[in-house]
């Protein structure tokens, strides 16, 4: 053993020197070497490690060989086993071992057989090679580190090799171990000598000497054979030593206080126990039963069925329940013995068989049987029941709750048109005479005369009810008469008309123009000439054209009653009188800066109120009671205070191109017609935005007009040839909103060149409407 240690030390030194001298060694290799040496250093006497070493230390072999240690030729097993077992006891014990442990009787040959392959090569899962080592069986008392090395150092070779020699091996010092005497010489000696005590007749295989056993060994063998405890000193029945007794010792063995576990039940154990108890109670742990018994019990266990509905109480049907429709009761044809007429004829049968089962009118053919017992079972019963169930299931019988709201009740409450009578409904007079479009209509303030202006350049006056033309004048041969407007007072009978850049003021011949009235009218018109002649005209900057030139139109027209001509800078399209009849506002959209002009009759004065206009002026009008002036451009309507000379309000109807506006006689409401087909009602007190937007026409709206004689009516005229009459009541109460009801659409005018109705006017007293159409007619609707 010491030698081994020395050897190891030397080896490790070598390794150290190697590692010092040879840096080129791979670390892995070095590690492996180091670990191997470590394994050897804290020596574990196990065969496994030794076997490992025998495998891994192939490289070390050279080192060992260099030592000249002949042990190393052999595997380490045998030398280690035999190392130091010089004494016979060990050998003997080994021999006993061999005998007693039968399976390990000959480990050495097995080891030798499996020299180099004490493992199996198997394929692992990856297909690579895998070394599977046999399990090592560490025999009891394998630790032979204390055993003496063998006296004979020939190694693990049979002694028969030495049969021809006088010695049988070498001892550790290299001295020959001589063969003991044997054979006949000894036999004789033995015969003569009494068998010594402890003689066994066996030969020690290591020494070749007769194996003698000592008394102790013999005693041991005997005890083993007797089945007793091998140790003779062992007392199987010793006296009881009462270490812990009920007696209170005066001097306890230990001064330590008694631990709690001695007198307190263990909680943990109680927990464990309770776990088990619970498991048993719940049936998770069952008492053990042999499988056969268990199987038998399972077989014996019966299947138990439960009636789900046995306790069900009959409840009142759901109010939403709809019972399944009943199948019709069977008729004669379903009888087993139907009357003859129900039986199918041959053709019918063929027909039935030919048709697809899905398309058959009925899914059976009546059959006749002589007696009930000949009726076969109904083949399709299950299928029929199934289909019936499917029908009931797939067609959910649900009562649908309709939302019980009358759609009419959601509409705003508007009075019916019948209650809003009177309003114009039919055309009653047609005024025919103009060539080309009638551009403008106006009913005089007394309500007996109608004035029209047309594209033919004429102004005509008609008897309103009969449609008789009573007066006519041709103002221009080139320009159409764009607009005619009566002076709104009854003290004179004056008509204003525009043709081209000229505005004409005239006194038409009419039955109601008495000499007195005519004189008054002429005086009204002529008054300004005197005013101008007196030099009261404001000084016009030299070289600057006056805004309007007032003149007499010439003898021809003067004879007809046309008395004054005002010439402005561009074509006048719209004329609107002030309510007092002294001012009239004209609008000429092409007139840029001077497009809106205000003419004063009494002074023969034309003024241009605006230096700059925001957009192209479309129309301009006076407020019916206040000194407010409205100017409509294409998009907006501006309200100016004429006294303070300031902008009061900007109304934005949201229309793209305003065609006309009219102000309610009350003055707080405004209607706007636009070429983009909209009619807009503005409440001027409310907002700049329209109170109501109406789209009733598929084409542009050309004119809008309020009734000024007390009827809550207004109308629009459209290019689709129709007029729409509205009931538009403005309540006296400021808080209420105006009621607007469309009451009637009047159709009759023909559309010529995409132009329908151009202008409208209301009768001053009655709900009568006059319209001017592109078809050359004016029409009276009442």
């Amino acid at each position: 053993m010491k030698a081994k240690l020395v050897e190891k030390k030397r080896k490790s030194r070598d390794l150290e020197s190697d590692s010092e001298s040879d840096d080129e060694l791979g670390n892995g290799l070095f590690d492996g070497v180091l670990s191997a040496s470590e394994d050897e250093e804290d020596y574990i006497p196990s065969d496994q490690i030794e076997e490992d070493e025998s495998e891994s230390e192939g490289s070390e072999g050279s080192d060992d060989e260099a030592d000249g240690d002949d042990d190393d030729i052999l595997s380490d097993d045998i030398p280690s086993d035999i190392d130091g077992e010089t004494d016979m006891d060990k050998l003997r014990r080994d021999a006993e071992e061999l005998e007693i442990t039968e399976p390990f009787v000959d480990p050495k040959p097995k080891d030798e057989d499996t020299e180099g392959r004490n493992y199996r090569i198997e394929k692992d899962a990856n297909g690579g090679e895998r070394y599977v080592y046999e399990e090592i069986d560490p025999v009891y008392d394998s630790d032979d580190s204390d055993a003496q090395g063998p006296a004979n150092t020939i190694g693990d070779i049979p002694l028969t090799f030495y049969d021809s020699y006088p010695h049988i091996g070498y001892d550790i010092n290299g001295k020959k171990i001589m063969r003991p005497a044997s054979g006949d010489a000894l036999q004789s000696l033995l015969d003569s000598i009494e068998v010594p005590k402890g003689w066994t007749g066996l030969t020690d295989i290591n020494t070749g000497n007769p194996l003698n056993l000592t008394d102790e060994e013999l005693e041991l063998v005997r005890r083993v054979q007797m089945g007793l405890v091998p140790d003779g000193l062992h007392d199987p029945h010793p006296d009881t030593v009462e270490w812990f007794t009920s007696k209170q010792e005066t001097m306890p063995l230990s001064a330590a206080p008694e631990p709690k576990r001695r007198f307190l039940p263990s909680k943990n154990e109680a927990k464990q126990v309770m776990k088990l108890v619970r498991a048993i109670r719940e049936g998770r742990i069952l008492p053990y039963k042999p499988p056969e018994e268990r199987q038998r019990e399972e077989e014996e266990k019966e299947e138990v069925h439960f009636d789900l509905w046995q306790d069900e109480e009959p409840s009142a049907p759901n109010p939403m329940h709809i019972p399944a429709p009943k199948l019709p009761p069977p008729g004669y044809e379903m009888s087993y013995n139907p009357p003859e007429e129900y039986l199918p004829s041959k053709e019918e049968r063929e027909q039935w068989e030919k048709t697809d089962p899905e398309e058959r009118e009925k899914d059976f053919l009546p059959q006749k049987f002589n007696s009930l017992r000949k009726v076969p079972a109904w083949g399709t019963l299950v299928k029929e029941r199934f289909e019936r169930c499917m029908d009931l299931y797939l067609a959910p019988r649900v009562r649908k709750n309709r939302l019980n709201i009358d759609p009419n009740s959601l509409l705003p409450k508007l009075p019916s048109p019948a209650e809003l009578k009177p309003f114009p409904t039919v055309v009653q007079t047609i005024f025919r005479g103009h060539e080309g479009t009638v551009r403008s209509v106006a009913i005089d303030p007394t309500g007996v005369a109608l004035a029209t202006g047309g594209s033919d350049g004429t102004v005509r006056v008609w008897e309103l009810l009969t449609g008789r033309q009573v007066w006519s004048v041709k103002l221009s041969s080139e320009d159409p008469v764009y607009t005619v407007r009566w002076r709104p007072t009854k003290d004179a009978f004056i008509l204003a008309a525009s043709a081209g850049e000229d505005i004409f003021l005239m006194v038409p011949t009419h039955s109601s123009v008495t000499p007195t009235l005519e004189k008054a009218s002429r005086e009204v018109l002529a008054a300004g000439f005197g005013y101008a002649a007196n030099g009261n005209t404001p000084a016009v900057a030299p070289g600057k054209e006056p805004a309007g030139k007032w003149s007499r139109p010439g003898t021809r027209l003067e004879d007809e009653g046309v008395l004054v001509k005002i010439t402005v800078r561009s074509t006048v399209k719209v004329i609107n009188w002030h309510r007092k009849g002294d001012h009239l506002a004209t609008t000429s959209p092409e007139g840029q800066r001077s497009s809106v002009a205000i003419h004063t009759l009494s002074k023969h004065l034309t003024q241009i109120p605006f230096r700059k206009l925001h957009g192209i002026a479309q129309t301009a009008a006076f407020h019916p009671s206040k000194p407010i002036f409205f100017v409509a451009t294409m998009r907006t309507i501006r309200c100016y205070d004429l006294q303070k000379l300031e902008l009061v309000k900007v109304v934005q109807p949201g229309a793209k191109w305003i065609s006309s506006i009219d102000i309610h006689p009350g003055g707080d409401n405004l209607i706007v017609g636009s070429y983009d087909r909209r009619l807009l009602w503005h409440d001027l007190d409310l907002s700049n935005r329209p109170y109501k937007t109406m789209r009733f026409h598929p084409k542009a709206i050309r004119a809008v007009r309020f009734h000024r004689g007390g009827f809550p009516l207004f109308a629009d005229a459209s290019d689709d040839g129709s007029l729409q009459i509205f009931h538009g009541k403005v309540p006296n109460d400021q808080l209420e909103n105006p009621t607007i009801v469309p009451v009637k659409q009047l159709k009759g005018h023909k559309v010529v060149n995409q132009v329908g109705v151009v202008d409208i006017d209301w009768h001053p007293r009655e709900p009568w409407l006059v319209s001017a159409g592109a078809d050359g007619t004016a029409r009276l609707w009442m």
């Binding site: 009177p422 009810l465 007195t516």
Partner: protein, 483 residues
């Protein structure tokens, strides 16, 4: 007849014949009769005319059941009214109507605005007294060209009034009436009323019209003229809202307002040089009682001191002409355009007013009357501008309208108004519709364009109507309404 009844295979209906006509009464025992259910008007008429019943020869009869004429078979009537065959039907028989056959039409140069007739039975004929010779029937027409024309019955113009330069109207004549067989009056858009002396050659082939009086006072077109030959008074309604009461005699008429005379105007206008000068007079009374154009004024047929006027201001006013005061005002719901007084036996007349709302309102002018609006005559499709009561009876009238028709109404045939007609009062529908012959059976134009009727008169000579078609149309007017 009995054989007819017995042969009838179908059911029979028990009828009771009644009548209001005294000369056609049946004896009581014959009033009830069983007749076949499928019998119609003609059969019933034959039964009544048969020897066993009235033995009246061949008077055509019409039958009224519950106020409406029987136009179908009795059976159909019963089924449509949901009555059983056992019902005892009360049949009121009246003389049947003959459609107002077109007789003639006289051509004019311009629209005919008014018509009047001088005949033995016309008011003018009665006012003429003995001087009117039977058969010398004359027809007066006023035209929009400002001329008056007098026609004889055969369609020849006897005379035409002089033009404006010779004492005639300077503008359209809207109304003209005979005062007697040698005097007539006219008024028009020149705001004057003119009284003419009419003389006729002995052979009746030519005549002469001379203006005798020019009456000034109105400030608007005179739309209506009513005359009373007996008292020589005129009544006018003008667009200025005034009702004028005039005298036709120079002596009794006051002087005219100088401001209204044509010479009053100072401006340089075309002077009307009148070569023939007639006396210029003013009104006896000019009543500004309407605040809208007055459209018609009529005398009370019974009492010539009472007049009724209608206006576009929706009112009918009763005027006491002696004081010129308004006695009673009746408001209607529509502008009124024409007025006629229908005499009622022993009482104030019933007033028929044509409205701009296409119907005729019958009003009771008595202040005590509970309901002023008695009845509405519906059927016209345009303004009703002329009315004339029947010369034969007190329950029918003819109306002329701008829709181009004249309609004959029987006030006895009534039905309750439907809901859409207002649901109040009773309504009648026309018995006959006289179309304009100039339309030659074509469909009526929109708004009566080209065929408006401006004036209509119903005389025993016939129904005379003039209109926009420049024609005077004469239709037979006898027996178109039951007596």
């Amino acid at each position: 007849m009995d054989a007819d009844m017995l042969d009838a295979p179908g059911a029979q209906v028990k009828v009771t014949f009644t009548t209001t006509e005294a000369d056609l009464q049946l004896p009581d025992e014959k009033k009830q009769l069983l007749v076949p259910a499928d019998i119609k008007r003609y059969g019933l008429s034959r039964i009544l005319n048969s020897e066993l019943m009235l033995n009246s020869g061949s008077i055509p009869f019409d039958f009224l059941i519950n106020g409406s004429f029987l136009r179908t078979s009795l059976e159909d009537y019963l089924t449509s009214n949901g009555l059983s065959l056992e019902t005892n039907l009360s049949l009121q028989y009246v003389r049947s109507l003959i459609p107002p056959k077109f007789e003639a039409s006289f051509e004019h140069d311009d629209w005919v605005s008014a018509v009047d007739v001088l005949s033995a039975d016309s008011p003018a004929g009665r006012w003429s007294g003995d001087s009117f010779q039977h058969g010398n029937d004359r027809i007066l027409t006023a035209s929009y060209d400002g001329l008056l024309r007098i026609w004889n019955a055969s369609g020849n113009i006897i005379t035409t009034s002089p033009s404006a330069g010779h004492g005639g109207h300077s503008s359209s004549v809207k109304s003209a009436k005979f005062l007697s067989n040698n005097q007539l009056a006219s008024a028009g858009m020149d705001r004057t009323v003119r009284v003419w002396k009419y003389t006729e050659a002995s052979n009746g082939a030519s005549g002469d019209l001379k203006p005798t009086l020019e009456l000034y006072g109105h400030q608007g077109s005179i739309d209506s003229l009513e005359v009373d030959g007996a008292t020589k008074r005129l009544l006018t309604a003008s667009a200025d809202g005034a009702i004028g009461f005039w005298s036709t005699s120079k002596a009794s008429a006051p002087e005219a307002d100088a401001a209204l005379l044509p010479g009053a105007q100072t401006a340089k206008r075309r002077k009307v040089n009148t070569s023939v000068s007639a006396a210029q007079r003013g009104p006896l009374n000019l009543m500004h009682i309407h605040n809208a154009p007055a459209t018609a004024a009529v005398f009370d047929p019974r009492d010539r001191t009472v007049a009724y006027s209608a206006s576009q201001d929706h009112t009918v006013k009763t005027i006491d002409l002696t004081t010129g005061a308004v006695v009673n005002t009746i408001s209607t719901s529509h502008p009124l355009l024409s007025l006629a007084a229908i005499p009622r036996a022993g009482g104030t007349p019933l007033l028929a007013a044509g409205t701009a709302a296409r119907h005729i309102t019958l009003v009771d002018p008595r202040a005590s009357a509970a309901a002023t609006s008695v009845m509405t005559l519906r059927g016209h499709t345009n303004k009703v501008v002329s009315l004339s009561p029947s010369p034969y009876n007190d329950h029918s009238l003819v109306s002329g309208s701008h829709d181009g028709t004249c309609r004959i109404w029987d006030l006895r045939s009534v039905r309750p108004a439907t809901q859409e007609e207002g649901g109040m009062g009773s309504v009648s529908e026309p018995v006959y519709i006289i179309e304009r012959e100039s339309r030659e059976g074509k469909k009526r134009t929109v708004a009566g364009e080209g065929c408006k009727v401006f004036g209509v008169v119903w005389d025993k000579l016939g129904i005379f109507s003039g209109g926009e078609d420049k024609k005077l149309q004469i239709n037979r007017g006898q027996d178109v309404v039951q007596q």
